[in-house]
Amino acid sequence: MADTENVSGVEIQLDNVTKRYPGSREPAVRDVTMTIPAGKIVILVGPSGCGKTTTMRMINRLIEPSSGTITIGGEDALRLNADTLRRKVGYAIQQAGLFPHFTVAQNISVVPGLLGWERGRINDRVDEMMDLVGLDPAQYRDRFPRQLSGGQQQRVGVARALAADPPVLLMDEPFGAVDPITRGNLQDELLRLQTDLRKTIVFVTHDFDEAVKLGDKIAVLGDQSTIQQYDTPEAILANPANDMVAGFVGAGASLKQLTLLRVRDVDYEDIALTAPADESPATLRQRMIEQNRTYALVLDQRRRPLRWVHVRALSTASSLTGAGTPVGDSVSTQSTLHDALEAILAEGGHAVVTGTRGEYVGMIDITTVTDTIKQLREEHEAGSAAS
């Protein structure tokens, strides 16, 4: 846990930072002091208008603090040239803010270009970044932003922010404008990126579920950006510091904790009887009767789940590819237990688990999830009794 070897991020320290906008009586941000540890994702979460954006934008000085100090990796951010500072701090915003007149490659090249990188190096970097965010360079390099979907634009936005390999990445509701499914995918990918990159990421959102899913630590902010609680998601869910935090955590804290766990963390079992798609229905039927099974899972050549077949359907079926019903929602080992629960409910009590390449690895059922919830609850009761 505590290895610092591959951390490319640096610590950010805010000390008594206050921002008073001209013409308003109350400060938008009042006296915020917080340490954002190197290589972690810290989420600023709070109701709209509480000062999250203002707090974040002071870190790269798009907004100048009225008072207080900010250091990034030990350097006083307020004494650097603002443009130079920003080239070392990645910045990604809602709806990506891509330059519409630049191609994807040109957008990603901007910061390396400002830093005076050579052309060849920039080109290589563009391809590297596009691979990193899951966009095929051959296909998308020369597209313009308007030729991309919202989710793809957001990926380019992240690639642009990371292009010059800044130690710090600021993200202001970056996934706020995309549909829930795409948002889920983008969140998963950010987590995947971060396991390799280990940047210091400051992430603003008003969505507490997003905060729980992404954050190593969460700062729940109240009016004027006052810190209500600053802790790990687990700790905040288990012990909200005050009513405001409790209100923000909302109902169903134990359900939310399911977003903290992944399918790979719990016991799923390889219990289904599987059959390759080219097996003859008669032999499969024979096997099922021998093993006393009513259902079998048909897999394709790469062992990806295709269909469920009932033993009775096999006496009349001519091939396995046409028999039975297609597999509905499946979950991967990367999925959160929360998503797994949804798939389990949709599938009627159990769901197929697939590995990284989509291959069948086992089954998860509702008792696995309920056992996990029970276990979490017991741990928290023990934890809060101790504290």
Binding site: L62, R86, I93, Q95, G97, F102, V111
Partner: protein, 215 residues
């Protein structure tokens, strides 16, 4: 003599006047574009400045061209100088206004992103804002050019170069030999040149407006 014979006969002089006509209009448009964009850049962030600049440029446009030339002649004399000054002044309104509209129409999120990733103020203006406003600026220049093609005819009054001379002397000599041909040749010349310039603008837009923002 019919019109074709007339044009063939006077081709040398007509083509020279046509060339001078286009040349003064294009030069005036370019000068006005430089000034208009500078003014636009200076005022677009301030609503009051924008309103003021637009109002001023509109006021110029309401002065009849005869009157403006008449006012300029005593100051700068006859010839090309008063013509170019008048043309530049008239071209300012569409270009300044479109620059302000174009720059004002840039999505604030894009400006914010540009600043946020470390572009300097000048960089944001040159590489982002003006590039995004360029279709509007170009449209303003196109309107200005078309307008100036007509106004430049009037400039013959100040003994300026161009096809205006043909139109005027044709009209003045109405009834005498070839008077109609002369006026017609001048007028048609202006129309044809205007269409040609329209084609040039089309090509400029094609080659200078990014495909990412072309309508």
């Amino acid at each position: 003599m019919n019109l074709f014979d007339y044009v063939a006969d006077r081709w040398d002089r007509l083509s020279l006047q046509a060339w001078l006509h286009v040349s003064e209009v294009v030069q005036s448009t370019i000068i006005a574009a430089v000034l208009g964009v500078l003014i636009g850049v200076a005022v677009y962030r301030s609503p009051i400045g924008s309103a003021l600049a637009t109002a001023l440029a509109s006021t110029i446009l309401t002065v009849p061209s005869f009157a403006l030339l008449g006012l300029l002649i005593p100051v700068v004399g006859l010839g090309a100088t008063p013509t170019v000054i008048a043309l530049v002044l008239y071209a300012l309104l569409p270009i300044t206004r479109n620059t302000i509209v174009g720059l004002g129409g840039v999505d604030p999120a894009i400006r914010d992103a540009a600043r946020g990733i470390g572009m300097s103020r000048v960089g944001v203006l040159a590489r982002v804002e003006l590039r995004l406003a360029w279709p509007a600026i170009l449209a303003g220049m196109r309107v200005a050019t078309q307008m100036l093609m007509g106004i430049a005819v009037i400039a013959a009054y100040a003994k300026g170069p161009g096809l205006g001379g043909e139109v005027f002397s044709g009209l003045v000599r109405a009834g005498s030999a070839n008077a109609t041909n002369q006026a017609l040749a001048g007028t048609l010349g202006v129309v044809i040149l205007a269409l040609l310039l329209e084609a040039v603008y089309f090509l400029i837009a094609r080659f200078t407006v990014s495909r990412g923002i072309r309508g």
